[in-house]
């Protein structure tokens, strides 16, 4: 029998309120007509209008998307190939364990350590080539590095779930290696690849720490912009920007749920 008592329900609702109250406050004060202070002075959408004429913010939005798209494409390709490589070949137990370890490394270590390691490594590389000045290239490399592991883990679990029956059947029907990969394995694991790519995309959009450590002055992303802004002064414009980011998150979460549900029904 499943039930939840009054006490549990109250606690749960209070916890939900605790999670949402600050976010709702941001949305609430983003339509407040006064620039300073938190006293309600009437409804306005001015702050939203102003956002779209602020070139720094628009630039940051473009950077954020560019970074997310490029890093997601690279990490999805690399992560998928890696997952197939790990799952579909008879590795000895020892190599499988070390592969597993290297795959879990970016997932478990705190992101600030990866960020610090990248700062130092790019510092060394800068001695050789000016490509590695803080900026978009460094950020893409940083993002791909933690995304690969997540993509590979998601795709691998799909490979596991698919099993070997269909691939064996294809072999029995004389499918070649390339035919098998292109027409059997890849279509079978496509839901896993899409899920992995969406996870990678969301992780990139959401990331602050890696970007913050590797960004240059002309590759500021939205989270970095918001961070720098609120350290100086909190304005309703920032609330408006945050509210839009929040709405984008909501849409992304709902979209991801939809897609994963559709694939599950297949």
């Amino acid at each position: 029998m499943k039930r939840s008592g009054v006490v549990i329900s109250c606690l749960a609702l209070m916890t939900m309120a605790f999670l949402y109250l600050p976010l709702l406050a941001v949305a609430f004060f983003s339509v407040n007509a006064t620039k300073y202070g938190l006293v309600w002075k009437g409804f306005t959408l001015d702050w939203y209008v102003k956002l779209f004429s602020n070139e720094v913010i628009l630039g940051a939005a473009v950077n954020t998307l560019e970074l997310a798209v490029i890093s997601t494409v690279i990490s999805t390709v690399l992560g998928t190939i890696l997952a197939i490589g790990i799952d579909r070949f008879p590795w000895s137990k020892r190599s499988a364990t070390s592969l597993d370890m290297i795959l879990h490394l970016p997932v478990v270590i705190p992101d600030i350590i990866l960020a610090a390691a990248l700062v130092v490594a790019f510092g060394m590389l800068r001695l050789v080539s000016s490509w590695f000045e803080p900026g978009m290239l460094n950020m893409v490399i940083g993002h791909v590095t933690f995304q690969i592991a997540f993509v590979a883990l998601v795709v691998r679990s799909r490979l596991d779930a698919v099993g070997k029956d269909i691939e064996e059947a294809a072999r029995d029907l004389f499918a070649s290696n390339t035919y098998l990969l292109r027409h059997v394995t890849l279509p079978l694991i496509l839901p896993g690849i899409v899920a992995g790519a969406m996870l990678a995309f969301t992780l990139s959009l959401d990331d602050f720490v890696i970007s913050f450590f590797t960004a240059g002055t002309d590759s500021v992303t939205l989270p970095i912009y918001i961070y720098a802004a609120v350290r100086r002064v909190v304005t309703p414009e920032i609330h408006a920007l945050s509210t839009l980011v929040l709405l984008a998150t909501v849409l992304l979460v709902i979209g991801t749920e939809r897609v994963s549900r559709r694939f599950q029904q297949r």
Partner: protein, 301 residues
């Protein structure tokens, strides 16, 4: 050696299979080696170097950075850095503990919803999980602002001066940390609670077990897999967090993350920053080892 095997319906030798497998592995592994393992090793090396007067690296092997982290400086021993390390562990511990305590009722509540609304409640848990941590941290500025009731009540009670906000403060750090990490505990915990075998709980009730015994013996063991994933997902990143203490804790409530960030920005002391990162790495590995020992068989993802 010609180990002939049948692999996925293909008659082949182990050797040619592994050759092909290596082809698949190499791009991803090469990337991780170049941009993860190698930088990690460089970080280790740099932690033994020292800082020149302009912030440049001087390659001299010494344990100076580590002894500095342990508190041995130019003017004798101080506990400053060790206090920060200890504080990080304490904050991570209580953040996890409070998140766990709040997650159980929340997950039971969601699990007890009818199927239609359950999905909605779950989505409400996933949204904060994916909301950017900078936004989630600074949003507490508003709740704790002097114009709002919370700060006014505190001022009335004489805890803070009239007209000042409730941040930066220890309370603000905990509010920020718990609200940030709660979904990281609640989501894995929910996946365990969803699968809970309620007949065991009913059996315990039939045998007149007290509420605490029902929880300890019928519920807790069943939810352990989700719970331990949640704790790891919270405790480890919480130790290295720097956004929340930076925005809500102020300079007096630094954690390891802030110390590391400081070395890579204002202080420009990479060797010391690298040494602190190594310290955080040891703490991470230590807690992962502890977790592995305590909960056998569970995996993180």
């Amino acid at each position: 050696m010609h180990n002939i095997i049948i692999w996925y319906g293909e008659l082949t030798s182990v050797r040619s299979l592994l050759k092909r497998g290596l082809l698949f592995l190499s791009p991803g592994i090469a990337w991780l080696l170049v941009f993860l393992v190698l930088p990690g090793l460089v970080l280790v090396a740099v932690s033994f170097a020292s800082r020149g007067s302009y912030g440049e690296l001087i390659w001299s092997f010494s344990f100076e950075n580590y002894s500095r982290l342990a508190g041995f400086g130019m003017f004798g021993w101080t506990a400053d850095y060790l206090t920060i390390v200890w504080r990080s562990i304490v904050v991570a511990f209580f953040t996890s503990l409070i998140s766990v305590l709040l997650s159980y009722p929340l997950c039971f509540f969601i699990a007890a919803r009818p199927e239609r609304t359950r999905f909605l409640w779950l989505t409400m848990l996933i949204i904060p999980f994916w909301t950017n941590m900078v936004i989630r941290s600074y949003s507490w500025f508003l709740i704790l602002a002097p114009e709002l009731p919370f700060a006014q009540v505190a001022a009335r009670l004489g805890i803070i001066p009239e007209g000042s906000p409730l941040y930066p403060s220890v309370l603000a750090v905990y509010l920020g940390m718990v609200s940030l990490y709660l979904p990281f505990v609640a989501l894995p915990l929910y996946s365990s609670i969803e699968k809970l075998d309620w007949s065991l709980v009913e059996a315990a009730q039939d045998l007149y077990a007290s509420r605490s015994r029902i929880f300890l013996h019928a519920i807790l063991p069943q939810t352990l897999p989700g719970l331990s994933v949640g704790i790891i997902l919270t405790f480890v990143p919480a130790m290295g967090m720097f956004v929340v203490p930076d925005l809500l804790g102020g300079a007096k409530y630094m954690l390891i993350g802030n110390l590391i960030q400081q070395q890579f920005s204002t202080s420009r002391d990479w060797p010391f920053g690298a040494a602190i990162s190594m310290g955080l790495m040891v703490l991470t590995m230590g807690s992962l080892y502890f977790y592995r020992k305590k909960s056998r068989g569970g995996t993180i993802l």
